[in-house]
Every structure is written in structure tokens, then in C-alpha cells.
Symmetry: C2
Subunit: 138 residues, 2 copies
DNA sequence: TCAAGATCTGGACTGAGTCAAGAAAAAGAT
DNA sequence: ATCTTTTTCTTGACTCAGTCCAGATCTTGA
């Protein structure tokens, strides 16, 4: 990833130490919860409020710098891999989350036979199953 | 839907007034939250505890009598349409949720080019967009 | 350097769901 | 119809994930 300061400025986002730390934490720990990111930031810069973490995540997401997903039964997860409409595969047993390339590479990558008059802008796909580790121990 | 008492017995679920009322509420109001279902049950049988609603929903879901989905940013939603792996289309503006037939009709209906060693049992697809009503008023 | 606006802090609060003890009800046997 | 056992329901407390808000602090641009 390029310099986070440059990345933020290029997206019109004022640069703060908290935002840089949050972005670095998401880069280091893809598919993490806000709480995990907060802990990583605290280890990195010493202190940050929960509100600042949520605000930074919301701003970075709205500017397209990071991506927010929220699989069923999970809190929100964040990642820096953006722009390719990749999907995810999640283990039902341990929650491990991995990326899956999108065959199309952009939204929407599927069409609905009958879209009920909706204008579709995204087909969110999540593959659910069991990861190799949990398969091995069952 | 067949007689709810028969449906419950056929699935090995003891019949209680609360479970029947919850099942009827989900039938009447597909894609509803637990809270909406509780309100409908209270209108129907007079009183039910939140715990009983959550318990009934969990039991009915585990027996495959109803289906639980949880789109990003939403509480859990419940519906009685089961067994056909249909997908959903959701309006980003007002939250309206509609069913979309699955082209395959069973799980998993998509495969991942690279499944990272996972054994996949479901490809959850959610179409996001704008519904006709929200399109018309924008 | 300064002022204006944005952001952060700290703590209170909300919504969705879970936990647990005791009361009530369902099922099955008699 | 009755009884016993097990399950379910009720009630209230609790947790987790996220939001709200007032005041302090910081960033940006002049």
C-alpha cells in the first residue's frame, strides 16, 4: 500500500494520527472487527477512543479506501482490498474468512432473472463452508 | 402452508401456543425481525416474552421450518419460504426485501474458482440496489 | 501564528440478542 | 383423568456492537 498520508490526502481525508493507525491496523489484520482494530491501534499508538475508531472506519469506508463487510451473525469486518469486487469464503465452525476472486471483477457480477423492478448495483456473494483446519479436526 | 400443528409434530417439535403464533406471524410477515414478529404475536395471542420468541425462532430455524437471513447492517430476518435456496434483493434506501429465485435451486449454487481448501456448503447471494418506489422518488 | 471547523475523548445510551432462576405447560405413561 | 418428568415460558439482568453528545484538542488553510 502506498504511503497512508498520501492515500488519505488523495481521497480528500484530513490526516490524523488516529486515522493512519486505523488504516495500518486494517492493512495488518484484514477481516478484523472494530474491536480488534482498536486493540491493534492501542498497541501501536498508545490510546484511541472507541468513537474515533468507529469514525475512522466509517470515513475510510465511505471514501472507498477500505471495505466493510458484515456476514450473517458477525459484527462488521474491515479490509483494505478494494476495487475488485472480490467475494469471501467463511468457515461456519471457526469463522475464518478468506478472499475469493470475483470472476467478473466488478459490480454487479450476477444478474437476477427477475429483479422486481429494482436497479441492482451489487451482487454480494459469500461462500459458507468448513475450512481445511476444521475439516481436519472433525 | 399446512396446519402448523401438523408441521411442528412432523418435525419433532412439541406444539405450544407460542410456537404456533410465531410460525403464523412469520408466515404473515416474511422477512420480519424478531421484534416485529413479537409484536404480531402479541396482537394475536395477547402476550409472549421476548425470550420465548427468540427460542421459538431458533427452534423453527434449526428444524428447517423457517429460514433466518441476516443481511449486512440488519438484525436477523425470518421467512417461511424454505428448501429452494432462493436469494434476496434488498433496497439500500428503504430496506425492502424481496425474494429472487435461485437458478440452480439448491446449495451451493455457485462455485469458487479457488476455494482455499474449504468444503463449501452454501453460496449466499444478496442483490443490493434500489427498489422501484425509491427509484421513483429520487 | 491564528481562527474556524473537524476530530477526539470519555462516558452515557440504544438495539439486538443471551443468560438464568423459578413458574407453568406439554407429553407420555398409567 | 391424573401424575411425573421434561420442556418451555416468564421476568429481569446482562452482554456485545454500535451510536450519541458535550467539551477538549487538533488539523487545515489563510
Amino acid at each position: 500500500m502506498s504511503d497512508p498520508t498520501v492515500l488519505l490526502r488523495n481521497h480528500g481525508v484530513p490526516v490524523t494520527a488516529q486515522r493512519i493507525a486505523v488504516l495500518n491496523a486494517v492493512t495488518k489484520l484484514p477481516h478484523s472487527t472494530a474491536d480488534t482494530i482498536a486493540e491493534e491501534v492501542r498497541a501501536s499508538i498508545g490510546a484511541i477512543s472507541k468513537q474515533a475508531v468507529y469514525d475512522a472506519l466509517a470515513t475510510l469506508t465511505s471514501k472507498g479506501i477500505i471495505r466493510r463487510i458484515q456476514p450473517a451473525g458477525s459484527p462488521a469486518l474491515f479490509e483494505t482490498r478494494v476495487g475488485d469486487n472480490h467475494h469471501h469464503i467463511i468457515c461456519r465452525t471457526c469463522g475464518t474468512t478468506a478472499d475469493v476472486d470475483c470472476a467478473v471483477g466488478e459490480r454487479p457480477c450476477l444478474s437476477a432473472a427477475d429483479n422486481s423492478g429494482f436497479k441492482i448495483d451489487e451482487a454480494e456473494v459469500i461462500f459458507w463452508g468448513t475450512c481445511p483446519d476444521c475439516l481436519a479436526s472433525s
